[in-house]
Assembly symmetry: C2
Homo-oligomer: 369 residues x 2
């Protein structure tokens, strides 16, 4: 093969080297990786940009820090040590936020673009990919008569689902937060791996988990109106997504075998829908949510509510900007005599997905027991 093609193919095979130094010119090739987790759980971030004047990194375990340009022309900084976990981060290059060009892992989101630092910790984390039976994560498209489009959702089925063809499972509807897509509880929340691990340890029941997309307006181009009035999310969930799930997966279709919850806005959506559809749900989980005390009629009969709910779980970080509201809501429920389980975190970074994963680990073992 001729030299031109050899070089062309070499280009195909060496993207890291090529892309890592867009302005590298004749400089000797230096392979950089980023992020690098060091043995002491410090983390080194590397970024090559020959023209930038100021480069910082913003990472959720440490905040914003300057990076320094080393003799190889690579902007670098080592931060931490950090508690092994998954942390969103981005570089701030001359004031502009950019994802890490050397890291394929990102935080799915409607707006902000962050990479994900994944500290593996030798598989010892709640969400680690361990040597246990793994469930399947299905990306599905369901026809929404409410929205007039095909909606996106993700469905987790536990290991053994395909083999045990006569077995039916309880189902947990789990909703991400504002600006999150339906992917976040999978790619950042790692609900599949957390559940794989808990099931393998006998700590959680086998269940199906459904991840809806919390913001149906995004299915429509800017400026167009949705073909539905009021709460499009709830209407679609009730009339389209739930029937789709129950027609296509072996769910147990009664209130004793359905749970609903979510993170942030998703928790608000989950509680509002669950509390107003107690004929369908008996487990409610609120993770770092904004909560509402103004659902008409819902809180009037504490005895009835207590008899209907197998679990009313509320978790929030004491340093979460929604802590005040969450605590106010818990006090409100207590004052009404409405049973609820409270979980507070003090060192889990407030309104973050580190907390969201921690809360999953606390609640999944309580569902359908």
């Amino acid at each position: 093969m001729n030299k031109k093609l050899t070089l062309a193919f070499a280009a195909l095979l060496a993207p890291v080297l090529m892309l890592a130094q867009p302005n590298g010119g004749g400089r000797r090739m230096v392979q950089v990786s980023s992020p690098v987790v060091n043995a002491d759980n410090t983390v080194t971030f590397n970024y090559r940009n020959d023209s930038a004047k100021d480069v910082k990194v913003n990472v959720q375990f440490a905040g914003t820090h300057d990076m320094a340009k080393n003799s190889d022309g690579i902007w670098t900084v080592t931060l931490g040590p950090a508690a092994p976990d998954m942390y969103p981060y981005c570089f701030i290059v001359d004031g502009i936020n950019v994802m890490d060009p050397l890291n394929p892992d990102w935080f799915p989101n409607e707006t902000f673009k962050n990479s994900i630092l994944d500290m593996r910790a030798d598989g010892n984390l709640l969400h680690s990919v361990r040597d246990v039976p793994h469930g399947s994560v299905d990306y599905v498209n369901y026809k929404s008569s409410t929205l007039g489009v095909y909606g996106n959702a993700i469905v987790y089925t536990p290991a053994g689902y395909d083999e045990n063809k006569d077995k039916r499972y309880p189902v947990f509807y789990l909703i991400s937060g504002t600006t999150d897509t339906e992917e976040v509880y999978f790619k950042v929340g790692r609900v599949n791996f957390i559940l794989d691990n808990l099931i393998a340890e006998g700590k959680a029941r086998e269940m199906i988990v459904v991840l809806p997309y919390g913001n149906p307006s995004k299915y429509f181009p800017a400026g167009t109106r949705m073909p539905v009035r009021g709460d499009a999310f709830s209407t679609d969930l009730l009339n389209d997504l739930m029937p789709f799930v129950e027609a296509n997966y072996r769910t147990i279709n009664d209130r004793d075998h359905r749970a609903i919850g979510g993170f942030s806005r998703g928790g608000n959506q989950g509680l509002a829908f669950g509390l107003t559809h107690l004929d369908k749900f008996s487990y409610l989980c609120s993770y770092s949510s904004f909560t509402s005390m103004t659902l008409p009629g819902v809180y009037d009969d504490a005895d009835k509510l207590n008899s209907q709910l197998h679990l009313f779980w509320l978790g929030v970080g004491t340093d979460d900007f929604l802590y005040g509201n969450a605590k106010e809501y818990m006090d409100f429920l207590d004052s009404k005599g409405i049973n609820n389980v409270k979980e507070f975190t003090t060192d889990k970074f407030g309104h973050t997905w580190m907390n969201a994963k921690f809360f999953l680990g606390k609640t999944l073992p309580l569902l359908f027991q």
Copy 2:
């Protein structure tokens, strides 16, 4: 609820407005969306950055163009009209490539970070989400004895797979290109929607499609060595991924019901593996691939090869930087008397995923017929 919380919750609900003007200060709120596909198939890109001095957009249908700052402080440009399709693009802000903060769709990749412009064209495209039965796309983790880790793969099963529990299906192993992840043939190649549409039209057989990850070295931190010598991808595919697929999906496990192929490096991997494992495969597809004439012994017996291969399909764009190599390979096969089907595109943007989707539309109907 108090005002502070009202504002905090408002912040949760208005990320586009907030994030669209990081330095907006007291300026009136202007809601911007991006990208906007106009009725004449021109596309308007919008980006708010009050401190940037120079903003360009690079989009695969038009190349790089300057954006101008309008009276609302929004950098904007309208390009095209473009042939409705999916196009990678990024903004170049003072020389730095960034994804579009207002677009949740991106191009999964190990290195470059591009957003994806998705021109819907009212569902009239080969890869459109149409009102037809939709298959399921499963993200799976398989234990790789070759790699000593759990590998990532994506498996498409056609509509009806779960209902027809005794039915078995042929399987197509489809490999993405250099720096692509296993997600690209799903999120950019749209093989699931293309196949949903072709099956619904009776133009393609129902089949299972498996998307391996073409670059196993990425499972290992920089500087660490893989626990396997030689071609880790092929060894893992043969000893780990294929057995996993055949144990967990209802595949027809003979050479007449297996196809393999891919885009760019993935096509090279697919041909090399298929041609050296003709006991397992009888359909080969090369999409914009770098191809090799030096596989030992493979091309010596044209009659035998012709009798074993139901399809040997090769597609490339005449403006692809690999066209010369691909044409050279086709001529080589012809000179050896080895049957092959050739497809050339002249207006599909060379070495791109617009071509990759087009080639899928040409080849999927030819598999397993």
